[in-house]
Amino acid sequence: MHITLNGEPYPVNPGTTVGDLLALLALDPERVVVEHNRAILDRTTAPAQPLADGDEVEIVTMVGGG
């Protein structure tokens, strides 16, 4: 199945959770914020969130800026 990850199509296996996705991308869950279908996920419950075909996921972090 495919999700839209940060605006781009992204293939994931059925049954993938947000936690699986973060692990796959080698992202520190403490340093990113995940938005799932326009809803911001709570840091503690985000990893367990299951993903479905067509879901929109945004993963953001803090970068240098003024």
Binding site: E8, V33, E58, M62, G64, G65, G66
Partner: protein
Amino acid sequence: MTDDTPLQIGDHTFHSRLIIGSGKYKDFAETRAALDASGAEMITVAVRRVNITDPAKENLLDALDLERTTILPNTAGCTTADECVRTARLARAAGITDLVKVEVIGDPKTLYPDTAATLEATEILAKEGFTCLPYTTDDPVVAQRLVDAGAAAIMPLAAPIGSGLGVCNPYTLRILLEILTVPVIVDAGVGTASDATVVMEMGADGVLMNTAIAGAEDPIAMARAMKLGVEAGRLAYRAGRIPKKLYATASSPLEGVVR
């Protein structure tokens, strides 16, 4: 002279009146060194999508000492109130701060803020409990509207972002400083240390800058220059400068001159 009072923004207390940005440094080590040299206790950051194709890069937050540095997320790049509110909520969900630099850009060439959208976003975010520091023009009416909307501080530009022009309109800035009841942090347009001194001498509560430090030939040295410039300006403001006069006043006694 009594000790200076700290800068109070919402529930946050700062002893340094310099706030720096974290953009445009060559690496995180330089960012950290500039922060140390500047003495700033607050640093702005931007919220961006992670790079999916190269996600394992070091994170800025891991490069900063979060015990002694307050993070001020911005909503830079947003061009609508909706984008700004969404970005601010994402920033707060990172769990490190309730502060947000509310920034909605209305024009790509001048990077002037869209003040109507900034006001709309500030109203929403202040109601949601954010400590809002809106980046705005030096328009006193807009600034007062932002305070009415719940802004904890007002951040008027001295000149366009990254321009290094220094204060273009000292007269409107003076009006802002006179009428506003919340801290005024001059944000954007500072080019060198004397620019920072000027705004502090005028009575600004603080200064925020990024390019002036990060874009200098030696960012670390400029960070220290800005620290000293801000301190000098603040001290001169508190010391109370002499009035400007058209004609001279002798410094030495007029009596007893040997003739």
